[in-house]
């Protein structure tokens, strides 16, 4: 009973972050179509005249892997993708986006981020690409609550440039950083991957990451 409740809460927690990002211009759906797009916070002006599409079911995993630079997906990621494949859009048309698909994208983003974090945290800081300032030393390393604003800002910026092809806005930075405040001081150094997964999943799952 508790397990199931925790599962639901965990997913909803990530969705909350995704909603924050997509509703506060984190994920402005990259404006295509010279019209307006309805979001949870109102109408967003769409300024481009190009056609809007999102990654279809065959593109979504390779694209996430390409962004993350993780190479071959883990067996868990591949298996998850195979399971959720039918949730993703076949056409990639904007009007094919629906809630189960977004949940599937969130799940897959979490898995790819998990692969990325596992790879990165095994490396020395100087060899990493994304979490270059996260100190994972067993003695002097960061715990989730001791991550400095500079460290958070650095990996948020790097993830934004990977996934959104731009720098994050001040509002987006503020939203994510404040969301990371949920990581309290009772967490230990070994939990350091949690805020990283939290941030990475939110950024990778944002619709802007998947627009074409």
């Amino acid at each position: 009973m508790h397990k199931r409740r925790y599962k639901i809460i965990s997913v909803l927690g990530l969705i909350t972050i995704g909603t924050v990002l997509s509703g506060q211009a984190c994920s402005k759906f990259s404006g295509r179509g010279a019209s307006y797009l309805e979001t949870s916070t109102g109408m967003v002006e769409v300024t481009s005249n190009a056609t809007l599409k999102i990654a279809n079911s065959e593109e979504i995993l390779p694209s996430l892997i390409s962004i993350a630079g993780t190479g071959a997906p883990s067996a868990t990621t591949q298996s998850g993708y195979d399971s959720w494949k039918t949730l993703y859009s076949e056409s990639g048309n904007a009007n094919s986006v629906n809630s189960p698909m977004m949940l599937g994208i969130l799940n897959l983003s979490g898995e790819v981020c998990n692969d990325l974090i596992k790879q990165e945290l095994l490396m020395p800081m100087a060899s990493r690409r994304v979490f270059t300032k996260v100190n994972t030393d067993a003695t002097t390393g960061d715990s989730p609550s001791t991550l400095s604003a500079e460290v958070k800002g650095d990996f948020i910026r790097r993830l934004a440039r990977l996934a959104w092809a731009r720098n994050e806005t001040p509002d987006e930075l503020s939203s994510i950083v404040s969301a990371l405040d949920v990581f309290k001081s009772d967490m230990t150094k070994k939990d350091i991957s949690l805020p990283l997964l939290f941030t990475c999943s939110a950024i990778f799952a944002a619709p802007e990451t998947h627009t074409r």
């Binding site: 909803l12 065959e58 630079g69 067996a75 910026r157 990977l162 990451t209």
Partner: protein, 436 residues
């Protein structure tokens, strides 16, 4: 936000560590079978994909953004904005060398493994879905593009592509699929089991499409048309008319409705087509004939072929029994005696649409494929297909002159190379508007 959410939902009393730990592993408990929880990297997949190192303070120019748009259009995948390939493309775009910039994108494996593969998947099955399984059709299409072959050979060649265990081993890939000619001839297992392997790396061309268990080559091959999967989709049961319909649909980009023409001679319409449906010949003359006059003329190219449920059956000099089905409906109709066919789709209605360059008659599937491949309609269709894939929409009717212009270049400047075609389409102003 999450704290507020937890308070509202009454979960605030639980340890945050618990909640976030579950967030960390939530996927393990959703949908995944327990057997899938192994954490080792599977030794397969797309092999490509460079690793971008983000440069937090670097300026992002409009040319860099344009480079990413082109790269994404060509490959179907995104890469980080600081990727070295985008920097190279940016420099070329700044010099006005957009097509050269696009060539950097077509050099990426994803162009073959994702973009071209998805285009081929849609053409390979009756539902025209991108979720169709990997097949000999898809592998052959991808392999031919990778090897920069003349696109006409896709409808005329006697070859196919399969995964090569030697190449895979050399590339450090484990788990190469078993290669047995009879498995390839009688099932899709070789391809379906290889769905996660990089086609760019692992495909090998085999000359001679297999006709029997010994691998004897099919004597009348027509490239993709005579692949197992295309035949499985369109030559199973029926009357082989579907082979004509879908050959035109996939390689000329026209539905039967688009090219029906009731003014054409109906001398080859079979005995199974009712000439007096409803008591008179009005319906036949105005409707049925519009499709059958042309389709039945071509259908005879497939007189010797059938798909028996597992493999292609080719019976040289012996017309397949399906050509005599329902032969009492109109006994005076055409009786197919061999694989000679007539092209009746060359009347005023369709001559410009197809732009035939081959004789109005032929013999067998290879001649049929040659007729299609050498037509202007085929070149235009390839442009439309590439445009639709890369530009996220099909070209509009107003853009028909653009399609024709690019098709002319496809034939004369690009020598029927789909890779060059993709580069040209990706940087065409109508595909990805600059500043869009």
């Amino acid at each position: 936000m999450l704290v507020a959410f937890l308070s509202v939902t009454g979960m605030g009393g639980y340890s945050m560590q618990w909640v976030l730990s579950w967030g960390f592993i939530f996927v393990q408990f959703f949908l995944l079978p327990s057997s899938a929880k192994a954490d080792s990297l599977i030794p397969i997949y797309m092999l490509s994909f460079g690793t971008t190192t983000p440069v937090p303070g670097a300026l992002i120019t409009s040319d860099r953004t344009r480079a990413l748009e082109i790269f994404t259009a060509v490959t179907g995948t995104k890469i980080g904005i600081d990727d070295v390939r985008l920097m190279q493309m940016e420099a070329l775009i700044a010099k006005g060398k957009d097509k050269e910039a696009a060539a950097i994108a077509t050099a990426d494996r994803a162009f073959y493994n994702i973009r071209i593969a998805n285009m081929a998947r849609k053409m390979s099955n009756r539902d025209e879905t991108v979720q169709a399984p990997l097949s000999d059709f898809v592998a052959t299409f991808v392999g031919a593009v990778r090897d920069d072959m003349d696109a006409r050979s896709l409808l005329t060649g006697n070859f196919y592509y399969r995964f090569d265990s030697d190449k895979m081993t050399a590339a450090g890939i484990k788990g190469a699929p078993p290669i047995d000619i009879n498995t390839i001839r009688t099932s899709n297992n070789h391809y379906a089991n290889s769905a996660n392997f990089s086609m760019y790396d692992a495909l090998i061309r085999i000359d001679g499409q297999p006709m029997d268990a010994t691998g004897s080559p099919l004597p009348d091959a027509a490239g993709l048309i005579t692949t197992r999967s295309f035949m499985a989709a369109h030559a199973i049961a029926g009357t082989n008319r579907r082979l004509v319909e879908y050959s035109f649909r996939e390689f000329m980009c026209v539905t039967m409705q688009d090219w029906k023409d009731a003014t054409r001679p109906d001398d080859y319409v079979g005995r199974d087509v009712d000439r007096f449906a409803g008591g008179g010949d009005t319906k036949y003359q105005s409707t049925c004939k519009g499709c059958h006059a042309q389709m039945d003329g071509f259908r005879q190219a497939f007189a010797y072929v059938n798909f028996d449920g597992s493999a292609i059956s080719y019976t040289p000099m012996a017309v397949q029994p399906k050509f005599a089905s329902n032969n009492t409906v109109f006994p005076a109709g055409w009786i197919t005696i061999d694989d000679s066919f007539a092209n009746h789709a060359n009347g005023p209605t369709n001559s410009d649409k197809f732009g035939w360059r081959t004789p109005a008659s032929g013999k067998g599937m290879n001649d049929f494929g040659k007729g299609l491949a050498n037509s202007k309609g085929f070149s235009r269709c390839m442009v439309k297909r590439v445009f639709t894939e890369l530009c996220k929409r099909p070209p509009t009717s107003d853009e028909d002159p653009i399609v024709r212009d690019i098709a002319d270049q496809f034939e004369t400047s690009y020598n029927y190379k789909i890779k060059s075609l993709a580069e040209a389409v990706a940087v065409h102003p109508s595909c990805l508007p600059k500043g869009g």
